[in-house]
């Protein structure tokens, strides 16, 4: 496989250096920009496979850079944000960011997110049958099997699960899920979502209290693994 090219837009030299070493030692080609303007230029001249974008940039906010990039760039963009700024993260995800990481982050986590984002770049899945661990979901037949056994789901539970499965590995915001599953009217109230996630976990997780499929992203939404 050819080396995927990653553009890092971050103004902190230490983070830049760290990311460069971590990414290059994992066979990625790295290009760097320390301002939003430079980042957009670099991305336009030579579109990379993936962009790591810091929200706090010196010249303009990462949110603006994200919006500008998203007007023409449709590959993965992963946002780097400071811990506990959930509203920033939700806003970035709603503006089309592929994923996010909060500083300080661990390298293993960073690499996992990059791999998953790159995978999604390449395969806009055409297959009807998706598998994730012990789960098998047939989008054509609308059936779900766990360890080969058919799982009974209500219509809403199925819609929710199929949304998760189609966005495997990706953090989905509460708002996005509510809009996709319940329609536009219900976007403010997350209680139905929480209840359905609870019942869905009981049906598909081996240990609903230590979920491995539907992971809660605190203050942001859910991620299906």
């Amino acid at each position: 496989m050819s080396k995927a090219e990653i553009l890092v837009i971050d103004d902190e030299p230490q983070i830049q250096k760290l990311l460069k070493i971590a990414l290059e030692s994992n066979e990625y080609k790295v290009r760097q920009a320390d301002t939003g303007k430079e980042g957009i230029l670099l991305a336009a001249n030579h579109p990379p496979e993936l962009i790591l974008l810091d929200i706090g940039l010196p010249d303009k906010s990462g949110h603006e850079v994200l919006k500008e990039l998203r007007s023409w760039y449709n590959r993965a963009i992963i946002i780097l944000s400071v811990q506990s700024h959930e509203s920033d993260i939700v806003r970035a995800l709603d503006n089309g960011a592929t994923d996010y990481l909060t500083k300080p982050f661990r390298t293993a986590e960073l690499l996992a997110r990059i791999r998953s984002a790159l995978r999604r770049n390449q395969t806009e899945t055409t297959s009807n049958i998706l598998e994730s661990g012990n789960l098998q979901i047939d989008l054509g037949m609308r059936t779900v099997r766990r360890n080969g056994e058919l799982v009974k789901l209500t219509a809403t539970e199925y819609n929710l699960l199929s949304l998760f499965v189609r966005n495997e590995g990706r953090a989905l915001t509460h708002q996005y899920i509510l809009k996709e599953v319940w329609g536009v009217g219900n976007q403010t109230d997350t209680q139905y979502l929480r209840v359905f996630v609870g019942t869905l976990r009981k049906k598909i997780e081996d240990h609903p209290n230590q979920p491995v499929h539907i992971i809660t992203e605190s203050g942001v939404g859910y991620r299906f693994m």
Partner: protein, 389 residues
């Protein structure tokens, strides 16, 4: 500038009271005149002139009954009241205005500035003098009082900062020293170090960084509380799930068993998930610190009529009765407690729970160990009882 200064004072008072340092009302009472004095200067001028005009008009109607000398005393009293409340310039304006009004409308012959009797002239000059001196003296007195109070508060702040710096410098420097030391060793004696020692040093750096991060997080949370800008961002929260996830985060590095059984009848509560997560983390972390390795920590969650109650009890030594009040204070640490800990954790717990209008209490279990009880009044949702759509 006066605004900033006053704001800081208010904040400071608030933070001290928040921590139970001294919550007597005298401080707040004394703040009242300060605040009035800081009213916009325009309002002060208007109020001064208005009050003098009002008193003068009132007196004018009863002039026959009162006599102009009593009127002078009444006007002098109004000027004195203004002097207690306002800045010097509006008060001076009021005293001059009152003297002029008194002369023009009350001293015979009325409606002229002319004064007939020598006695009245003397009295007018005396009035003028006393009113001005009154204004200046009251102002100076207040100024001195303010300065003394500022000094006193500054001393208290310095004392608080000393405590802060002592506990923080230890808490922050220890991990930094670990990191620097380990890095130096790794850099300089790379060849001599065994593979195992290298890994060990790297693990120490890892642990120290996590510890540093936790302290910084605590400090940031504390400053969020101190700023008074903390607004819980309420959303529906599955408390069972939240507790499980916090427990899972705590377990791998620590020995005591943490026992939590989901309460299946628990409704959803409207809480700020981030804040409550921090509260649970701090309490569990605290329990782990003080519980022997072979003992258990139990957590329970319940709904008591729209109150979300979470119990966390450990099998440590418990708290001495005399210290129970103090443990939630900022930077407070039990006497003889082991090294580590900045004394911020529990005060953040209290602050965050109170931001939800809830309360956190501490009691000793009958079988030994301490039990923290969090009770937060909040909206609940029972829709998990409604099966399906």
């Amino acid at each position: 500038m006066p605004f900033t200064c006053d704001y800081t004072r208010l904040l400071f008072t608030k933070s001290l009271c928040f921590n139970g340092y001294f919550c007597n009302n005298s401080l707040f009472l004394r703040l009242i005149p300060i605040n009035t004095r800081k009213l916009a200067i325009g309002i002060q001028y208007t109020a001064s002139v208005g009050m003098i005009l009002l008193v003068a008009t009132g007196c004018f109607f009863f002039n026959d009954f009162l006599g102009h000398r009593v009127v002078a005393l009444l006007l002098l009293m109004s000027v004195s009241i203004l002097a207690m409340l306002f800045d010097i310039l509006p008060v001076l304006l009021a005293s001059v205005l009152s003297a002029v009004i008194w002369n023009f409308f009350f001293i015979p012959p009325v409606f002229t500035f002319h004064i007939d009797h020598a006695e009245d002239l003397l009295m007018f000059l005396l009035y003028f003098f006393i009113a001005l001196v009154n204004a200046v003296l009251t102002f100076k007195l207040r100024d001195v009082e303010n300065r003394a109070r500022d000094k006193e508060e500054r001393e208290k702040t310095i004392k608080l900062y000393d405590t802060l710096l002592n506990s923080l410098s230890h808490e922050l420097r220890t991990p930094i020293a670990t990191i620097l030391g380990a890095v130096d060793t790794l850099k300089e004696s790379k060849e001599k170090l065994s593979q195992r020692n290298q890994t060990e040093l790297l693990n120490e750096i890892d642990k120290a960084t996590v510890r540093l991060n936790r302290q910084v997080e605590n400090l940031l949370n504390m400053s969020r509380l101190e700023s008074g800008m903390l607004r819980p961002n309420l959303d529906w929260c599955d408390v069972n799930e939240l507790i499980h996830s916090v427990v899972e985060k705590c377990v791998p590095t620590h020995k005591p068993v943490i026992e939590f059984k989901s309460n299946e009848n628990l409704p959803l509560f409207k809480l700020d998930v981030g804040l409550i997560e921090q509260v649970l983390q701090n309490l569990i972390y605290n329990a782990i610190q003080y519980t022997p390795e072979d003992a258990t920590i139990t957590i329970e969650a319940a709904d008591i009529g729209n109150i979300c109650r979470i119990l966390i009890s450990d099998r440590g030594k418990g708290f001495p009765e005399a210290e129970m009040e103090s443990v939630f204070q900022k930077f407070y640490r039990l006497p003889n407690s082991k090294a580590g800990g900045s004394g911020l954790g529990l005060s953040i717990v209290k602050g965050f729970v109170e931001a939800h209008h809830g309360k956190v209490t501490l009691r000793n279990n009958t079988f030994g160990g301490a039990e923290f009880v969090i009770e937060i009044p909040t909206e609940t949702s029972f829709i998990n009882n409604l099966r399906n759509e």
